[in-house]
Symmetry: none
Subunit: 463 residues, 2 copies
């Protein structure tokens, strides 16, 4: 790759301006009030891909929002990179907490972004990170350095569960054939600590309902004599962790991968300051599974968290009632090899088993997804690592994320290919929150780094 | 007493209609949206007392809702009965479970009320039972049979802890001087098994708030690494009972009166069928403290129940959030000799002690009250017993209730008088629940029975 820095320096203002125009479109997939804007964003992406050099670009209709597909195939003997991203954004609420309007992007300097960051909904997640790939393609095509084939698949329903993407992928396996999938929808540790996300957790999300007496009762007349569904629910949930905060569901850990001491030692090299972490959250102590560090607890270990609980009288003041029903939403983050459907079944069986007489239990699975790992000894990872090393001057740290991107596991299942997660955002970029932003430096660094991935991947693949 | 039956028969329709008008006023003291209605209910009670024959009636302002005071003093040498009741009602939630609107009273027949019952919030607790006393007074005054002095004190904050009543009573001891206090705010065993409540449980009601991180967090990125306030809350609440359902708060049982075998054997004579009890509640088993029967668990034993719990995402679908805060409303029913303020302190100390690092705890006492016992060898009890025997043709059974009327202990302390609890409702009348109702037969039977209490009490007192 030649002239990357020079090309970016020359076109920098235009690159920023193009992204700003895309960010002005409020493509909120969760709210039907924005339907026209979501469609407009798909059109904008289509045009951008054409201008960047794709030979074929199409808007693929689905039962929901369309998928924008683009490709530039130069030689069937060369490898093919499939880029995935999304043009839809999270709702901007609570809108009153934004310092500037979410769809009127402005550039402001911050402590972590001294060269300025673009503030707008979607700036980082994922329009900004997706658009880096469009501009990287433009650079490679315009400078005649595209080393392999490339396909783009940019969807508009990532923030609402990607339901139609799954169908699209299953129906277009041939068209989507590729050697590696490239996604920028995660983050890195810091601008001077590049990292590549190598693992994502899976997810099982269930809702539980405990029913005791057939109606709400007066707690004076019945208190102590019948099973109170809320008390029972707290007892059942509490029992799901033992005194060392291990999860007590039989079989839950059976398929959990235990990392070697060496791997854990590698992970432990990531910069982490427990005091900063606690101070940022205003907590006097972290909490979690015995025997694991904070970074391990939220990445390589499965968890069980109550995401919501409700029952009885929750209004102002006091009401002496024993509720007929109590509810909770419970999610389990899973690690690779744990099958989310199997874990959901284990949860259901166990939770039904531990219910005492006097109550009935109903369990409704909400959704789930598999965890995912990219081994660091694959060509894809090595190529990405070398690309970061080239542009950052530092080897990136492999990092497991606690979050879930269910479609990554789906891609592996349907398309039989691995995914490389090259994120350029920071944790502090406030994705899903007010004042989302994306560093201008990060945006341009992404455009600079991505072509090297194409180069090294093609070289390693064709040796 | 003469012509009670005839008078009631003649005025029956009006008695019912007057109560229905009072029930139409949604006097919910717990919810400030109903402030005007609570005041309107006080006015309605004032007018009713005037019409019934009180010489003086006044609305006594407090820092909260007013107390309606009325009196008819016929001779200072005769005894004085002080009637207490309340015109406020519980909230109607969950409103969707009512078969008819809670403030549009209708009369429907039920299995236990073949002559019909009035369905409305407050029908039994306490507007219906309070209004029996107003109509009993009307009868005695109109037929010139009032045998003694009478005072009425009807408050509007019973369902929210009676805070201002305590101040009012302490400041008006002279005015409230009496020989016996009469309250109908309890129940009886069955229409053919009259009973008088001789014991009440005390109450300590607290709200707890657990705070973890200073903001809601993404459960993928933080799950497993920080204390989740909902999980912690369930663990803390669950630990408040041991495996035998004894309460684990240190010192909690220290002052609990242990009844003798003989007393427990007496209690066990009350008719009770465990299958009917379970069937009525649609439960396959009762639940409670080891070593005690159902009737003991809800009367002579203290309890701890969660009355409400909430935290995190409780809307439709799934949100992968770790909430910053979780809450619960917890009430403890206490037995005589347990001091509610002491128990509240024990709870607070213990609950703070069991909080793990990583969360903070805030405990807000809502209200409380002492338990109470009326010995059955007092004139008051004997007069009441004879009154029931006259109108029901059966001696009533003395019964300990699981409920609490905290002000009864307060009356004894401040006014040095005993209280007689002449309840005419049934357990199945669904007080505090959707579809609360009060039997028309019970309402009229109360109006018939109360004057005999005045008669016998005056006779026994003046012998």
């Amino acid at each position: 790759m030649q002239n990357t820095k020079a090309y970016i320096a020359e076109h920098k203002e235009r690159f920023i301006q193009e992204l700003i125009e895309l960010l002005k479109i409020p493509s909120v997939s969760a709210d039907s009030a924005f339907t026209k804007d979501v469609i407009a964003a798909a059109e904008a992406v289509k045009n951008a891909l054409s201008h960047a050099g794709c030979d074929t670009v199409e808007i693929c209709e689905t039962d929901g929002y369309p998928i924008v597909y683009g490709e530039k195939l130069i030689d069937s003997k060369l490898p093919t990179v499939l880029v995935y991203g999304h043009y839809d954004v999270q709702p901007a609420d609570p809108i009153e907490l934004w310092d500037s309007p979410p769809y009127e992007p402005i550039i402001k300097k911050t402590a972590l972004h001294p060269e300025g960051a673009i503030f707008a909904r979607g700036a980082c997640d994922d329009k900004g990170q997706m658009y880096m790939h469009v501009k990287a393609l433009e650079f490679m095509v315009k400078t005649q350095q595209l080393p392999c084939n490339v396909k783009f698949m940019i969807e508009g329903e990532e923030e609402v569960g990607s339901d139609n993407l799954g169908i699209y992928v299953a129906n277009n396996k041939e068209k989507l054939t590729n050697d590696i999938i490239l996604i920028s929808d995660t983050g890195m540790i810091a601008n001077d600590v590049p990292s590549i996300t190598t693992g994502l957790r899976g997810l099982s999300y269930v809702e539980v309902e405990i029913t005791g007496p057939n109606r709400d009762l007066h707690s004076g007349l019945y208190g102590g004599a019948v099973a109170n569904p809320i008390n029972i629910l707290t007892k059942m949930i509490a029992s799901l962790h033992d005194e060392n905060n291990h999860i007590t569901i039989p079989g839950f850990y059976d398929k959990v991968e235990e990392l070697s001491k060496k791997e854990r030692a590698e992970m432990a090299k990531a910069p982490f300051n427990i005091n900063d972490y606690q101070n940022a959250l205003d907590i006097d102590s972290v909490y979690g599974e015995e025997g694991y560090t904070t970074n391990e607890r939220n990445s390589i270990r499965p968890t069980l968290d109550v995401n919501g609980i409700w029952g009885g009288y929750i209004g102002e003041g006091a009401k002496t009632v024993i509720a007929s029903k109590a509810y909770a939403k419970i999610s389990m983050r899973l690690v690779p090899h744990q099958d989310w459907e199997e874990i959901t079944k284990l949860f259901k069986t166990h939770f039904e088993n531990i219910a005492p007489k006097g109550v009935t239990v109903k369990i409704t699975p909400h959704h789930g997804g598999q965890g995912y790992v990219t081994p660091i000894d694959t060509i894809g990872y090595k190529a990405a690592s070398k690309a970061y090393e080239t542009t950052f001057g530092k080897k990136p740290i492999p990092q497991r994320s606690g979050g879930s991107i269910p479609i990554v596991a789906l891609f592996e299942k349907e398309l039989k290919s691995k995914t490389i997660l090259m994120g350029f955002g920071l944790d502090s970029d406030a994705i899903h929150s007010p004042n989302e932003h994306f560093g201008v430096w990060n945006y341009l660094k992404g455009i600079e780094t991505i072509p090297y991935f194409y180069k090294y991947f093609t070289e390693m693949k064709t040796i």
